[in-house]
Symmetry: C2
Subunit: 195 residues, 2 copies
């Protein structure tokens, strides 16, 4: 990214910086370069040596996180599965990762690379929604963008449920999927048990 010629970075240093930045950014989006350096146990000069500006650091860390997240989804995704199962698999995978990636929500840099990574997520979700529509799990009358946006938001709600309310990732993913596809209402068809 911003490699000075004659200044390679040691993997250990790089890792320490990125991990510290992620940890710090999730507790305070406005973390300073000094704070990141201190948290990484690294000199401020070293930090600036490898990420010349703060924008460079945020871009690198953000891109790294988005890529991780996309990779995690790809790892559990199987185009052969029913779309509703793919939805569940994605939710189950992504929800517990919120602790690590929550700061991405507040990115206002407008950086092109982050934008592209986020767009890749949206594209994936869009394709999934289209498939859910084909399967009849989502109504044809629902605007695809609407469904995509709701899925996106619900991930954060679910993450809150896990991290702050102590719900299990399994239960939460199930609840999220149910909420998305069938809403919060009772199920009149199931057994007639509901009022």
């Amino acid at each position: 990214m911003t490699r000075a010629p004659g200044h390679a970075i040691r993997p250990k240093t790089f890792h320490a910086i990125v991990e510290a930045a992620i940890r710090l950014l999730n507790s305070n989006v406005d973390a300073t370069m000094s704070e990141v350096a201190r948290a990484a146990g690294v000199g401020r000069a070293t930090l600036h040596r490898h990420f010349r500006t703060k924008a460079d650091l945020l871009r690198a860390v953000g891109a790294c996180c988005i890529e991780e997240m996309n990779a995690a989804v790809r790892a559990v995704d199987d185009a052969g599965m029913p779309a509703s199962d793919r939805l569940y698999a994605m939710l189950r995978t992504v929800i517990p990762l919120g602790d690590r990636y929550a700061f991405l929500q507040f990115d206002t840099s407008g950086d092109e690379i982050l934008r592209a990574g986020y767009q890749a997520q949206l594209d994936w979700t869009t394709a999934l929604v289209e498939e859910l529509k084909t399967e009849g799990a989502i109504g044809q009358d629902v605007p695809t963008r609407w469904a995509v946006a709701e899925i996106d938001q619900l991930i954060w709600v679910a993450w809150t449920a896990v991290s702050e309310w102590g719900l299990s990732p399994d239960d939460t993913a199930t609840l999220a999927q149910r909420t998305l596809l069938r809403g919060l209402g009772t199920f009149p068809l199931d057994t007639g048990q509901s009022a």
Copy 2:
């Protein structure tokens, strides 16, 4: 709030500052005091005279907005109505107001007054959810907090739909209510018209 003794504020000045702050904060959460003053057509000294610190300004503006929002909901709320109608009324009212109040989403001040105002909203929504549960519109098995959080988030999704995608507030509120209570899925009971 931060009235110096012997320095009353002219209503026009106060109004100009608050409106400029709202407008500016919605396009950039990190707007500076100078920018607010300039946008308000007011001297920087005057701004500081009435809101000594930036925190004072944000608190005042935020509290003002939350109060406006709560008042708008109260104005269309009728405890005698069915809860699902009250939900719709709230959504229909709040969604178009997003342009004005979106910046509140990004408040990280942790201010007590804002916290209290936001809590009041949550309390209102919580009571509504309880009622929806009683009516059977929301399943007893759904955690109330979950429902409240989803309603909260969906308002922002809906606001995006109106402001960026050009959906009508009526359609969007209907879509939001349907999404909440019955999900994005097709309606097997309705008429069989859906695929």
